[in-house]
Amino acid sequence: MTASASEIFARNVPGSTQILGGSTVAVAGCGGLGSNAAVALVRAGVGSLILVDHDVVEASNLNRQHFFQFDIGRGKPDALADHLRAINPEVRLELWRLMLTPHDVPRLFAGADLLIEAFDGADAKRWLIEVWCRCFPGRKVICGSGVSGLGNSEAIAVRRSGNIILCGDEASDPSQGLCAARVGIVANLEANLAIEVLTTEKRHGDDQQP
């Protein structure tokens, strides 16, 4: 038996389900940040996701990413899509298994209300932020920066400027190792910020309607 959307989202914050259901979020990277953020977004009721990752699931991903033993060897967007549809079969998903380049950004993400930047590498984060802000000047990008190590919970923060929102400790390095709890906090912070932006902007947009 499959539960309907109205049953799944019965406990949602009043007024949020309709806004989120009509929203599209792009997620660049389906690893520790992107996979966990995507799960939180679908559980919240976001109607459409654009998922991009070139990688396949490896055993060493299972300590923090939303994948399972039976996913090993599968492309991350496809494996993640199955898990997201197992939560809400009605979620609309665009899957791109490719190594994202600056050239792809305007084509793949044109329909997105905002971007969750969930890359591993810090250098790739910079060009993605720059290209996104140039291509979509009115839309927010939410970035994860610094998720490695253990504990150090007070160092995780959110900072904002213009259309950029950045969360994480802005310092840690994966050579320290990665832990599900800490990566998950930042992934869920990214999702929470996306939900905040979508519900705030769309409510505000509705207020502007004649």
Binding site: D120, A122, R126, E130, C133, V147, S161, I164, L166, E170
Partner: protein, 66 residues
Amino acid sequence: MVTINNRDRVDWWEGMTVQELLDELGYTYVLITVTVNDALVAEEDYATHLVPDHAEVTVFHLAHGG
């Protein structure tokens, strides 16, 4: 006067560029993203982008994800 990250303050001078401000602050960390008055400045423009007096500058440090 220019404010950085809502915390640090630097006296402004005529013709101040983003790169000069970063040098003044001693920011040597290469992976950063900078906004001036909430507008992103691309890395290739650091040497030419002028910082106005009373600007609010944000320097984000980009560290790895997970």
